[in-house]
């Protein structure tokens, strides 16, 4: 399966847009997580956690899945291939792990939003969960920067199976 140059550029543009969108949305999420912890105003914290839940479900998760899908298609339809170069495989595994973690954390984020929406919510509630969400947001951004750097530098290294495949042609 190969793409025409025009289609390849279109697919690459889409992949970059989805991936950068994922990182940007996560940066916004991080800002809200900081506001939710640092703000002394309960209403600010409340609105931050409700917004974070909506961002997660309607922006971050769709972008993560689209980034993963577009990246996989991009690899399969170009000479890079999915299992020929270490950096491509690593990007897939890192992005897959990050997406899995995101899906796992969607539950606790929803729990936090529902707790924050409760009229009895106070600034001292669920402190552990709030710091956990903050930590995951920071970790998520670092992991996405890791995949971005692999995509930019494309470090050398061919997987044996891919090398055999390339040598056969």
């Amino acid at each position: 399966m190969t793409m025409t140059p025009r289609l390849r550029k279109l697919a690459l543009t889409a992949h970059i847009a989805f991936s950068l969108g994922w990182t940007g949305a996560l940066a916004g999420f991080l800002g809200l997580a900081v506001a939710g912890i640092a703000s002394a105003n309960v209403e600010t914290a409340r609105s931050a956690y409700v917004a974070m839940d909506m961002m997660t479900r309607y922006v971050i998760i769709p972008l993560a899945l689209l980034s993963l899908l577009s990246g996989t298609l991009q690899a399969l339809a170009t000479p890079w291939a999915l299992f020929r170069h270490y950096w491509v495989l690593f990007k897939l595994l890192i992005a897959g792990t990050a997406t899995y973690m995101l899906l796992v954390k969607a539950g606790p984020i929803g729990t936090m939003a529902r707790a924050a929406a409760d009229p009895s919510f106070s600034g001292a509630d669920l402190v552990g969960l709030r710091y956990s969400i903050l930590g995951h947001a920071i970790g998520g951004i670092l992991v996405l920067l890791w995949t971005a750097s692999l995509g930019v530098f494309k470090p050398r290294g061919v997987i044996r199976r891919g090398w055999k495949h390339a040598s056969a042609h």
Binding site: R8, L12, D53, T78, P79, W80, R84, H85, Y86, W87, F90, L93, I94, T97, Y100, M101, V104, K105, A106, G107, P108, G110, T111, A113, R114, G128, L129, S132, V143, L150, F153, K154, P155, R156, G157, V158, I159, R160, G162, W163, A166, S167
Partner: protein, 69 residues
């Protein structure tokens, strides 16, 4: 260590394809592979609530996760 910039940076060069050299796992891949394994272990640990990092994993939130609709 890193590939040279060529005319088409988004496509593999011949050398990157492995056609001009014996493959072997480079040092950067070994180092980042270890980091990746660590990341996967941390993620598994957190999602199962193991190692004191839990309390927020799916096992804990099984009753509430996805019930917001």
């Amino acid at each position: 260590m890193y590939s040279k910039i060529n005319e088409s940076p988004h496509m593999p060069s011949e050398q990157q394809n492995g056609e001009t050299g014996e493959p072997g796992m480079p040092r950067w891949a070994k180092a980042q592979g270890l980091l990746l394994i660590l990341l996967v272990l941390v993620v598994i640990g957190m999602s199962t609530g193991f190692g004191g990092l839990g309390g927020h994993g799916p096992a804990v939130h099984a009753g509430s996760a996805g019930s917001s609709e």
